[in-house]
Amino acid sequence: MTPAELSGLTLLELASHLAAKEVSSVEATRACLERVAAVDAQVKAFLLVDERGALAAAAASDERRKNGAPASALDGVPVALKDIFLTEGVETTCGSKILKGFIPPFDGTVVRLLKQAGLPILGKLNQDEFAMGSSTENSAFFPTRNPWDLSRTPGGSSGGSAAAVAAREAFGALGTDTGGSLRQPAALTGTVGLKPTYGRVSRYGVIAFASSLDQVGPITRTVADAAALLQVIAVPDPGDATSARLPPDDYLARLEGGVNGMKLGLPREYFVPGMDPEVEASVRAAAAELEKAGARIEEISLPHTRYALAAYYLIAPAEASSNLARYDGVRFGLRAQGARGLRELYSQTREEGFGPEVKRRIMLGTYALSAGYYDAYYLKAQKVRTLIRRDFTEAFQKVDAILCATSPTPAFPLGAKVDDPLAMYLNDVLTLPVNLAGLPGLSVPCGFTRAGLPVGLQVIGRPFDEATILRVARAHERTQELYKRPPPV
């Protein structure tokens, strides 16, 4: 198999070639590294390529395979990580200058789980600084580009993860999703992005943004690949107090079960004014295909949807302003030089280390939590959050899963929204209600615009029912097989 043929395989296809010993992990890892060398100067998905570490892990995998003792079904499949995951001995910046040079002393739980399962880690992927953004333009280092059109954004904040997978630089990647940061970039790059239920995947060793919303998940080319990676990382973890004790499902077992007899809801509030007509047409066509496959499609209502954006952009910055208090120049990361006194050390370090969007959110969150404004903003937003959750609970008494667009528009040009924070926030309008409610949601490719840009279908499920949304997404994927179409890069 040539390196080009190899990097064209899906994650599970590679796993079966590895199991059949038709290809080695070192060959697969080299194919990824060659692909990175060939295209990443344009795509700019990687912040750091760990060639030596990845090849050593691949060689160890091949040795296990030779001895007939693979560590898991995915042993030897090379993947990459958003730079938000702590990796022992490998620089972790979270896309921020304030963590430039930070070398974590331990692996995050999901990193450990990937290593235990034998997956070589190719490197660290670009992201919006501290996962705050929807275009990866808030990275302190450089913007990532969309492999389908290099003048456009891959979305964000897990834009590096999505771009790397779309550009065939890795067989899969992990990212995080606080308001849509896995699903929106997946939609914009023609990949699959899965945000599991809050609590399904451990966040120990994941740099915190908004702790009541953050969740870890995979970005892959196919639905089955996402199910396979979820299986590796969905492990209860005492290291994270919010990690669910409920054992994970077998996510691949019923993947091909189809949608015959299922009830799927189309929320009328999610077909918003200003939505791109080609996006709407693709999503409605996908629903029609699922109807043909035996599902019953019902219009449903989630009446508090219009308040979700405002609630989210108070809650997430409030939590962020508290979480980011730890970047103070004392224990790790940047320390400003020449400060007189401790207070000046804090404020000068934070001025030099944080980018504009992070400062904006710290300011917004601090204001929403400050004396005199707490009740009007933060507490009010938490009450609205209750109403949004309740909408979903009621909807799931009628339907098994919800279908809608992931992003109201396809990928937008780089620079188009950087100076207008509110316009940027609107990218998340269809994804963030899922985080407020703690539900699982995924994005699966459902078409291309006439300009050749990918469109994503979002499938939202009941708590801990990742198996159902994966099955619905797979039933849709089977009708189009868009993942077989490579991007032009």
């Binding site: 002393p105 952009y313 601090t366 204001y367 009010k380 609205v384 109403l387 985080n435």
Partner: protein, 95 residues
Amino acid sequence: MALTVEQVRHVASLARLRLTPEEEQRFATQLSAILEAMAELQQLDTSGVEPTSHAALEEPRLRLDEVKPSLDPERGLANAPARSGTSFAVPRVIE
């Protein structure tokens, strides 16, 4: 809800952020616009609605209070910008 430059300075000081005069102006404008958009929430009647502070679906539990190994001081201090023995060093706080 318009935010004044004085309010921006106060919030920045609470957040331990030093801002340039240009940033103070820009944040006053941008945060005012954002808060104006958020004002939509005030239209919604939430009397009698309990707040939701997190999305966890399981009851939180306490871990057992037992001694376990943790990061050793050398590894914990490895990223310190300045250290003194086994402590993080900071500018003098008390004269």
